[in-house]
């Protein structure tokens, strides 16, 4: 047994398969940051900090001795609890393939948005500087007219290229703008989505938690998500009616090259 204490949960292998399968399928949709930044690890639950390779000078312990302390970025632990009905778990054991996992689905959405927000916009309490906070570029401002959206994306791509940031490029985009992009056709009936793919050379990623959009280089080595424990499901408690579980992960995030991303903002 490990710290997740799954063996203590009154859940059969069939029940765990249903829960884990549901979680894995939905996370793949929600985890936008992992589709665009480098993922390092997982390095395990005991991995506590990311090495920054820097020091901070401090006063020496005694006369004639100088000292410096290593700087590290501690990993943050994110957790989202949820309940599973024991009636639903019993149904899964009977062969039901449509059991209600609504609370799990909401917890997945919440923790995935937490990861996305930390990566793209930062998480001050955890010491994480997000991509839009770290970028050296001024944001590209675009209007509400979606026919001009390709110009904004092309402007952002050009700014990255002018800075020496090679492609392909990816675009993380808030759900409302993503929907408008998918709905829009340009002159000649061409899909706006296809046009943006051509400009970027990489993916447009539906990114819940992102404010506006972020264009970034996918050449690698610029943005690192350092994973301790990757997303896992653990056990908290149970009674006659429900089993209380939680989603958990630990990670840090660093921007190594501030020139490699640029924000898109709606405005006039």
């Amino acid at each position: 047994m490990n710290h997740l204490h799954r063996d203590l949960a009154p859940i059969s292998d069939t029940g765990w398969d249903a829960i884990d399968g549901e979680a894995k399928g939905r996370f793949t949709t929600y985890l936008a940051a992992r589709k665009l930044v480098d993922f390092s690890g997982p390095n395990g639950w005991t991995h506590s900090a990311t090495n920054l390779g820097r020091i901070e000078e401090i006063s020496g312990p005694s006369e004639g001795v100088t000292a410096a302390q290593r700087r590290v970025l501690p990993l943050v632990e994110l957790r989202a609890a949820f309940n599973i009905s024991r009636v639903q778990l019993d149904d899964a054991d009977r062969g039901a393939s449509d059991i209600d996992l609504e609370e799990l689905d909401e917890a997945i959405r919440q923790i995935a948005i937490g990861e996305n927000v930390a990566v793209f916009h930062g998480y001050e309490a955890a010491g994480i500087q997000g991509i839009t906070e770290s970028t050296s570029h001024a944001p590209v401002v675009h209007g509400e007219d979606m026919s001009k959206y390709p110009t904004a994306v092309a402007t952002a791509v050009d700014a990255l290229r002018q800075s020496g940031m090679d492609g392909p490029y990816g675009l993380a985009i808030c759900p409302s703008t993503y929907t408008r992009i998918v709905e829009t056709t340009e002159h000649g009936g061409h899909l706006l989505l296809d046009h943006l793919h051509q400009i970027l050379g990489g993916p447009l990623v539906w990114a819940p938690g992102v404010d506006g959009g972020v264009v970034l280089s996918l050449r690698g080595g610029d943005f690192i998500l350092d994973s301790g424990q990757d997303l896992s499901i653990g056990y908290l408690s149970h009674d006659a009616d429900v089993v209380r579980l939680y989603l958990e992960e630990s990670f840090s995030f660093r921007v190594l090259e501030p020139d490699a991303a640029i924000a898109l903002r709606s405005g006039t």
Binding site: M1, N2, H3, L4, R6, W16, D17, D20, A23, K24, F27, T28, L31, R34, K35, L36, V37, D38, F39, S40, G41, P42, N43, G44, W45, T46, H47, G202, P203, L204, V205, L218, S227, Q229, D230, L231, S232, I233, G234
Partner: protein
């Protein structure tokens, strides 16, 4: 065609899966080359040729290691197993038997970790 080795129709596979196939194929080719060079080193009676072939053989090992590392970074289950078995000194079968050591990184998928890892390339 990038590779003749796809087992499923190309239009059913995403780019990440095709890249994974490319890397696996490349790794197989590097390992096969190591084996072939090694046999030639052992077979030749010309010491100078053996030295060249041995040099080339060991160069392939670098290529294989680089490709394996590319795969590890994108495959949490492979990552967990490499972390479990590589650079250990106990008998290998004993390392395998002692898998439930309490570290999530070493756990197989289904024992806590969802094994999601990197999704880079999944949305191309």
């Amino acid at each position: 065609m990038a590779s003749e080795g796809l087992h499923e129709p190309r239009d059913l596979l995403d780019e990440a899966s095709v890249d994974h196939h490319r890397a696996v194929t490349s790794l197989c080719e590097e390992l096969e080359a190591i084996d072939w060079y090694d046999q030639r080193v052992k077979a030749t009676s010309d010491d100078s040729l053996a030295a060249v072939l041995a040099y080339n053989r060991d160069d392939e090992k670098e290529h294989a290691a680089m490709t394996l590392e590319w795969l590890r970074r994108r495959d949490p289950a492979l990552d967990a197993n490499l972390r479990k078995f590589l650079f250990t000194t106990e008998p290998i079968t004993e390392v395998g038997a002692a898998s439930d050591d309490g570290d999530a990184a070493s756990l197989p998928v289904g024992s806590g970790s969802l094994g999601i890892g990197s999704l880079k390339g999944a949305d191309r």
